[in-house]
Structure formats: structure tokens, C-alpha cells
């Protein structure tokens, strides 16, 4: 049925024009998709997702000068007034204090029951709402006596590459943190208690040994009831880590940021900017190619106006007459989508291999958002094509050609 109509309407189709559209659109679509995919793949490297601390959290401490070491300068701790001042800043969402253990802690570690080393150490806690982990794991009760602990990732590196290697001990991977036994002895206020520690994870951004707030409260009351609890460090949740106001405030008040979160934030910002720029260029190419397609189809309809009109006059409906050109455009858009996605997949395999060599800890991201964007663009462009062809045919129907 459609064959004769198609035989008629394919007259004047310009292969060169359609090929021009095809490759331009393929190129544009590929750049748009590649931009988004690359951004999604690389973003985790910049944001260094910690798993325990959200990227909007900054850790603030006072800059230590020579004077404060001698005890002559300002105090190292934050007074209530200072904490309040920070929490009143427009960039700040909420503030929490680090609370340190005020008693002696001795800890010995081992793997699978074999003790390996022991050391004096300390604990710190932040309010639980700042710790991004399952709450059931992040709880201490004095009955079962197991302390959940988050260690800095650098400790793992120090152990694996420094200690374990020189002592011919087994290396520990993050996957088997659960196998680390920690025996913790707490002493103070004339009492002593042995507890078990359980490492539940490693954090890149925290330079401390983190335990639940409930444990610190309980242990400080028990082993150091009279200690001064002025916090030395604050954890600040900000609205936007790239905000310049933060840097200004930090410098003006002689404070220090504990990690390079701000730099990472800036790098992410630039990554975003470059990605958007690349995607815009891709989009521009796509729009231009879309324009070629529309011109080409308009020209085709124009050249075949008489045939289309005759078909309409002998009883073909505008819907039926439009269909061949609509199928042609939608089909081409579909092929472009499939090809550009295939191309993207191959290119991605290539660059992901390179990235894995450089950043072995990188996780394999998903291609779904990119596919969704591709399909979304396909649908929008196809709909515009369908409507445009139909409008052209209706113009012939209404004798406006």
C-alpha cells in the first residue's frame, strides 16, 4: 500500500542533503552525549566522594601560630560566640563541634586474632547528623561494648605501604576492614575499661579517628567528668562549597580549612563549565544539522507539491501523505541515536581504561543518564519533524503553497 506512495514521494530526495544532515547530526549528538558521559564519569574523581562526609561539609580549625603554641595568644578552641557567628553566616547551613576524648586511650590492632601493633590514641566525634552512614551501624551502647570507628584512609596507606611491608605483615584492603580487630582500653578518673573497636570504614577527608557522639558523651562522663569541652574544630555544612564568601570569612577570621574541599569544588566548577561548553557546541552542531534536515524536507515537499496535492485530491488523507516523510526523518534520527550511542560506548571503553590505570579506585558509572538524554533529544527532534512535515502538507491542503 505504502509502496506506491513511497515510489512517488521519494522523487527528488537528495541523498547528498540527507547525508549532510546525517553526519552533522551524528557528530553533534555524539559530542552532546560524550560531554555528559565524560562529566558523569570524571565527576567522582573531583568530588572525592567520601562516603561518610557529604561534599558540602567543611572542617574548620583555628590557625595555629607560634604564640598560641606558647599559650600566650588566643585560645585554640572555639567559644560559643564564635560558633554562633559562623552559624549566622549566609553560606552556612549548620555547624557542629568536634568533641575529643578527654582520657587516655590505648589501642591494639590485629588481623584475624593476631595482634600486630598497639598505640596510644584518641577519639573524636561530630554530631551524628553529619555522618553519612547507616545509623544502625553508627551506634554505641555500653552493654555490647563495641565502638564503631571511622579511620582516615591515610592510616590504611601508612599501614599497607609502610608498616606491613617492612614487617612482612599481610596488607589490608578496604574490603576486609571488618576483619580488623581493635582492642581499646580506656583509662581515666581512676577507672579502666576494655572495649572492642570495629572499623566500619575509611574516610579521605577526616583527619581524625571518628566515633559516635553517644560514645564520646558516655566515655567523657565516665572517665573525665570535669574536663573542658571547648571544641578545637568545627564541621560546617555550607550551601555551596565553591562560594567565595567562605574563603573570605576564613581568611578574615584567621581560620584554616582542613582539606582541599574548596579546590576540589573549584575544579568541579571548571569541569562543569567545560562540559557545558562542549555540550553547547555539540548542541549547536545538532541544531544546525536539524536545520539542514528541515530545509531538505521543505525543499522535498516543495518539489513534490503537485504529487502531494494530487494524492490529497484523489482521497489520500494528510496523515497518510505525511507519513513517508515523517518515517524518513524519524528513521534517520533513530539511526543517528543508535550510531552515536554505539560510538560513545566505544570511546568510553577506551577512556575508561585509561582512567582506571590512573585512578584504580574509580567506580564504573552508569550510561543511563546519557541514554536518557539521547532518547529525550530523539523524541523532541522527531516530534518537531513530524509536526513540521504535517504543517507543510496542510499548507498544500489549504492551497497556501
Amino acid at each position: 500500500m505504502m509502496l506506491l506512495v513511497w515510489k512517488l514521494l521519494r522523487q527528488h530526495i537528495s541523498i547528498a542533503q540527507l547525508a549532510g544532515f546525517f553526519f552533522a547530526n551524528l557528530f553533534g549528538m555524539f559530542i552532546v552525549l560524550l560531554g555528559l558521559q565524560f562529566y558523569n564519569d570524571v565527576k567522582p574523581l573531583f568530588s572525592q566522594d567520601d562516603g561518610f562526609l557529604k561534599p558540602e561539609y567543611l572542617i574548620v580549625s583555628k590557625r595555629i601560630s607560634g604564640m598560641s603554641v606558647l599559650g600566650a595568644g588566643e585560645s585554640c578552641g572555639f567559644s560559643d560566640k564564635e560558633v554562633e557567628d559562623i552559624s549566622n553566616q549566609p553560606f552556612c547551613k549548620s555547624v557542629g563541634a568536634f568533641t575529643a576524648s578527654q582520657y587516655r586511650v590505648v589501642c591494639s590492632m590485629g588481623v584475624n586474632g593476631v595482634a600486630q601493633f598497639g598505640t596510644d590514641m584518641f577519639f573524636e566525634s561530630v554530631p551524628d547528623r553529619f555522618v553519612d552512614t547507616e545509623l544502625s551501624k553508627w551506634r554505641f551502647s555500653s552493654e555490647d561494648g563495641i565502638i564503631p570507628i571511622i579511620l582516615p584512609r591515610t592510616y590504611l596507606a601508612i599501614y599497607n605501604f609502610g608498616f606491613a611491608q617492612s614487617q612482612s605483615l599481610p596488607k589490608i584492603s578496604e574490603g576486609i576492614v571488618g576483619m580488623i580487630d581493635m582492642l581499646v582500653v580506656l583509662r581515666g578518673n581512676g577507672q579502666e575499661q576494655r572495649l572492642k573497636g570495629k572499623v566500619i570504614g575509611f574516610s579521605t577527608r577526616l583527619n581524625t579517628i571518628l566515633v559516635p557522639e553517644s560514645f564520646i558523651k558516655w566515655s567523657n562522663t565516665k572517665f573525665a567528668p570535669e574536663a573542658d569541652l571547648t571544641p578545637n574544630r568545627l564541621i560546617v555544612e555550607v550551601k555551596n562549597p565553591t562560594d567565595d564568601a567562605i574563603v573570605k570569612y576564613i581568611n578574615d577570621h584567621n581560620l584554616e580549612l582542613e582539606d582541599d574541599k574548596l579546590d576540589a569544588g573549584k575544579a568541579t566548577y571548571f569541569l562543569k563549565l567545560v562540559t557545558i561548553l562542549v555540550m553547547c557546541i555539540g548542541m549547536l552542531i545538532s541544531i544546525l544539522s536539524f536545520y539542514i534536515l528541515m530545509l531538505s524536507i521543505y525543499l522535498l515537499v516543495q518539489k513534490n507539491t503537485e504529487k502531494l496535492r494530487n494524492l490529497l485530491l484523489i482521497g489520500y488523507s494528510p496523515v497518510r501523505v505525511s507519513l513517508p516523510y515523517q518515517l524518513l526523518t524519524v528513521g534517520m534520527n533513530g539511526v543517528v541515536l543508535i550510531l552515536s550511542f554505539t560510538l560513545l560506548y566505544m570511546v568510553r571503553c577506551y577512556y575508561m581504561n585509561m582512567l582506571w590505570v590512573m585512578f584504580p579506585q574509580m567506580q564504573d558509572g552508569s550510561m543511563w543518564p546519557t541514554l536518557c538524554l539521547g532518547i529525550g533529544l530523539f523524541i523532541v527532534v522527531s516530534l518537531i519533524n513530524i509536526v513540521a512535515v504535517r504543517n507543510r502538507v496542510m499548507k498544500i491542503w489549504n492551497r497556501k503553497e
Partner: protein
């Protein structure tokens, strides 16, 4: 559809002119089952009349109604249905597709309704003396041959009215007769009304009424 009615109809371009016509500015009714001849001189709006009735042009004053319904109210889907099932027009300019063969030109119309079998169509080609042209490109046929193809195309659909606009302008008397015979057979078979227009030579048929345009 049982009737086509014209009420005070006049092509816009004739407005203000002194028009002497038995169609324009009159109340005219074409009934289903009857045969009419519309005789015209050049430039009296014969093809305009066909274009108005097939819904192709609307540049007229007054009203045209199908079964008392003003055709200005027809929507796109109504017109498509009318052109498929109710009203068939043999265009003076034929409106065939020169890049298709004679049979393909018929098929492209017949496929809409599958009204006629290939056998019946081939029989018509035979009777009209163009059986050898069935698979020839229409663009390579003479106008007289094309007129016969266009007539066959006009007949491969169900219709209540058949309008033929100068169907035999390029045919000899013998072929005109055959064509008229086939046309009337099919029209009677369908119980349809026939409106023939002519500018000089016309088919010899038992017309119910003849109008001077």
C-alpha cells in the same frame, strides 16, 4: 449522498459582472441517479465549479451543500472520506502521476478502497484499447490515452456522484462512445449521479437536464 445543491453560488472573480448563467447565482440541485450536462464556453468557470464541489477551492460566494449541509463546514477528515467513498472527479487536467505506469496510477487510487479487482481494471483497459499501455509510464502516453487512464481511475472507487470535466476532449467518436458506455455502466451499477461538463464536443448520453454555464 443524495444531492448536490448550489444556492446563489458565484466565483469570487465574477463578482460585479453581469452573469448570464443557468448555474451561477441560481438554485440548482443535482440528484443522485440522474445524468446532467453542463455546457460552457471558455472562461465561464467550469473548472472552478468542479474545484468547489471536490473541496479544492473555496473562493466562491453563496453556498454549496451536500444533502443540505454546507460544504464549508466539512473538516479535513470529511473531505478525505467524501473523495474516497462518495464523490469521484475526472479532472480536466487529469492529475495523473507521470512517473508511475498506467496500472500503478489506477492502483494508487484503488488501494484506498480496493473497490475493483485487477481483472475488472484490465478488462477496461482492453475495452478502451490501451491494454498494451498497462505497464507504460503515463508520462510517455498521449493526452488521449491519459484521458482514458484517468477515466478508469475515476471509476475505481465507490461514489454517489461522478463528475467528469471535459472527458473526451482528445478522443475520437469511437473511443468516446466506448468511454461513455463504461462510465454509464458503472454509474448505473452504483446508482450514482453523473455530471458531465463540456466545452464543445460532448458525450452522447440520455441527459436528465442540460445547463448552460
Amino acid at each position: 449522498m443524495n444531492s448536490i445543491e448550489l444556492h446563489n453560488t458565484l466565483p469570487c472573480v465574477f463578482e460585479g459582472r453581469d452573469v448570464q448563467s443557468e448555474i451561477w447565482l441560481q438554485d440548482v440541485v443535482f440528484q443522485k441517479g440522474e445524468t446532467y450536462l453542463v455546457e460552457a464556453s471558455s472562461g465561464t468557470g467550469k473548472s472552478s465549479l468542479c474545484s468547489y464541489i471536490i473541496g479544492y477551492r473555496k473562493d466562491y460566494l453563496g453556498n454549496i451543500c451536500f444533502d443540505n449541509k454546507d460544504i464549508r463546514q466539512h473538516r479535513v477528515s470529511d473531505w478525505t472520506a467524501i473523495r474516497k467513498h462518495t464523490l469521484s472527479l475526472l479532472f480536466q487536467e487529469l492529475r495523473l502521476f507521470p512517473e508511475l505506469t498506467a496500472m500503478e496510477n489506477i492502483d494508487i487510487k484503488n488501494e484506498l478502497t480496493n473497490h475493483k479487482s485487477h481483472k475488472e481494471i484490465e478488462a477496461w483497459f482492453e475495452r478502451l484499447g490501451i491494454a498494451d499501455k498497462i505497464n507504460a509510464k503515463v508520462g510517455r502516453m498521449s493526452f488521449g490515452q491519459q484521458q482514458r487512464v484517468a477515466m478508469i481511475r475515476a471509476l475505481v472507487q465507490p461514489f454517489d456522484f461522478l463528475m467528469v470535466d471535459e472527458p473526451i476532449s482528445h478522443l475520437d467518436d469511437e473511443n468516446s462512445k466506448i468511454m461513455a458506455g463504461i462510465m454509464m455502466e458503472e454509474a448505473q451499477h452504483q446508482g450514482a449521479g453523473v455530471i458531465v461538463t463540456s466545452i464543445g464536443k460532448h458525450m452522447d448520453l440520455p441527459y436528465t437536464k442540460t445547463f448552460r454555464l
